[in-house]
Symmetry: C2
Subunit: 187 residues, 2 copies
């Protein structure tokens, strides 16, 4: 394939490796050496693409979170009001894979000590909070700020409950709880 | 001090070190060597008290979770019905330290790959679920199983939200959300 595409594919493979290692074993385990091993290349190939571990983390985390944003936007496309809000929340609690939940939880847990991770998580959360408040506003909520907190708590709770219990709660159980939370919203 | 008390104090210090290391850096970082370093002793002192890393983890996690249970029971003492339930939930979301939340989240995230941790977490969750369902039943709930799920989701969500946001939500913000969840319960 053309060299430019080859380079993009190689970089994508490197960033995928970062996400996989973080999801499997936490961010402490993400080293240039571990990434090289995962993609089957030498460490010098990895450092050819990224200048430092910090840059590698930053780019990989941003790419992963950006793809989650794109999925959320796609879920709400062509919908409005309550239907758009419901589609985004259902996307968040019903569709992601265990791997993406593990990645997110590792990110949340590790962000405290690592400014790079903290920055990327803040950037994502700012988008999420604005998006949910805007959707609540458009759906007719009387208190979008408080109800955005409730929706976020619900989503966080669902993600953690899967690990807490050893396996994700069934879709039926999650949907029943979503309906209960939904009934509390002021529209 | 008498030798028996001395031994109990030493063992408690070793188990505290396990909890601190897990909260700071995750369970992967809990090794006999790291624990010895943290308590300022040689590894042979640590292995004099515990036979293996597995035994050390099991004992330390159980002791920590048992002390959380004792706190929850103390919060509800001399109360009944809704007041007892409210006291336990407020204890869970308003009183614990960041360290105990970090420990719990590390436990949840690491339980998947480590049967010892999974076993201790299951033991705690079984107690928690029964306790919350029983309190809901006594408070007059029409559907204790579903509402116990809602209460647990809320507690999990509050714990995670603090790390997600970089610092715990203010007690006022948490109390406002607790009131919103409370209003959905059928009593």
């Amino acid at each position: 394939m053309p060299r430019q595409i080859d380079q993009a594919a190689r970089l994508a493979a490197i960033e995928d490796a970062v996400v996989s290692i973080a999801a499997d074993a936490g961010f402490e385990a993400v080293t240039i050496r571990a990434v090289a091993k995962r993609v089957g290349a030498s460490t010098s190939v990895v450092t050819h693409y990224v200048g430092s571990r910090e840059e590698l983390l930053c780019n990989a985390v941003r790419r992963e979170l950006d793809s989650r944003r794109a999925e959320a936007d796609a879920a709400a496309r062509a919908l409005d009001g309550q239907a758009a809000l419901r589609a985004v929340v259902e996307w968040a609690v019903l569709s992601p894979t265990e791997r993406s939940h593990r990645f997110w939880l590792a990110l949340v847990l590790n962000a405290a000590g690592q400014p790079t991770l903290r920055g990327e998580l803040n950037r994502f959360n700012q988008w999420w909070n604005q998006r949910i408040e805007q959707l609540l506003h458009e759906a007719g909520s009387a208190d979008p700020a408080k109800e955005a907190d409730l929706v976020s708590l619900f989503v966080d709770g669902i993600v953690v409950s899967g690990f807490d219990a050893g396996q994700p709660w069934t879709p039926e159980r999650r949907t029943k709880l979503l309906d209960a939370v939904w009934a509390t919203l002021s529209f």
